[in-house]
Amino acid sequence: MFKVFWSVLHRDLLLAMRRRTDVLTTLFFFLIVVSLFPLGVGTETAVLRILGPGVVWVAALLASMLALERLFAADFEDGTLEQLLLTDQPLVLLVLAKITAHWLLTGLPLVLMAPLVGMQYHLTDPAIGIMMAALLLGTPVLSLIGAIGAALTLGLRGGGILLSLLILPLYIPVLVYGAGAVELAAVELTATRPYLMLLAAFLLSSLILAPLASAAALRISIE
């Protein structure tokens, strides 16, 4: 059973490596959005420190969402997805593998890029550490919840805009606690623990429920 998980994961990563631009555009989108804000709101250190956490999280939300469209679309067009649905392997596991690949390609790089962005916004070192931890816990939730929306809007006209309308409201709790943790890290480091715990709780519950919902959504979209 885990073999099928690994093979789907391996296949998705391999496909992404063969078309690196898709992955890189998402990451550069994130970098550009984050770099635009200081130019728009002014470059004073004090302002940037306050804005930084929120801007990084919103940019991460948008970057993760833009890449969601591709999660099932290519497989849907060439019929691979239909074959995946027809196999006797549990669909939940296949979906989870695809989500994991999506996170490894869009979420994890954002976590690794966080220190760079933190420096752009003059965040303190502990705040950058907390930001990385929060992103590490939060970005998988974005991929997991987003997969439900991607499955529901599969093959629809204007799917991308619709996807944002469906998914962004559900992202709000992650945004609130993710950005909240980083903001608090500037004041008192120990106070961030409940925020990180809540993010971990979101991660665990969405890890259990979101693949089930995405699998159900895929079955609805393809029948």
Partner: protein, 252 residues
Amino acid sequence: MSSAWSKFASPSTFYPLAGRMIPVFWVLAAGSLLVGLYWGFFETPDQLGGSNAQKGYYRIIFLHVGAAWMSMWLYAVMVGWAAVGLVFNTRLSYMMANAIAPTGAIFTFLALWSGSFWGRPSWGTYWDWDPRLTSELILFFLYIGYIALHSAIDDARRADRAAALLAIVGLVMVPVIFWSINCPDPNQCAALHQRSGLGKVDGNILFAMLTTTLGFWMYSFATTLMRVRTIILTREAQTTWAAETIRAEVRS
């Protein structure tokens, strides 16, 4: 039991039943709204609270609380019908869920709107990022998302099922909205909505508030049933009974 239930699960038998129920709910809605508003305007104290009392403007509570309650309740009912549809595969359940959504969205908007008009004199601002305000806004987005997804899919069966799943996923937000009001200690959390209980509310105010809420509830029944009748006719237009009904309606 199952025969009586399944009898009205068919759109063709539900259509006339809904038609007979609509006037009843309109009368109930108008009656309770009139009583509630009369009571709210003439039988309640002019001021609320001791020091720094709220003046007459607190009376928007009679609309605001009812609308806010209905916004959450209708979402739960919508999800209930959506779940029934997914489990039993009954077309009428999806139609009900579909018919509830606009009314729910309107109540959510009303709750936000009336709240901001109350907030201006009492909090000094139309909008604040209070947890409850924010989560009510999210609820509004959830309704809009449901309606948008349903109307984006051309195939009615897929639209019904996909929107139903989305509604169920969104249900996780409703308890968050309901309990976001409970900030037990104002020193610990900066929520503008404080914990309140029905027992603490003055009897006349409570009566008026509950009566207008009942009015809103009956109004929701009436509009939902009217909308579901339209949906039934649109979806069943190819059947003979629907075609005959439409012809009869046009003639009269």
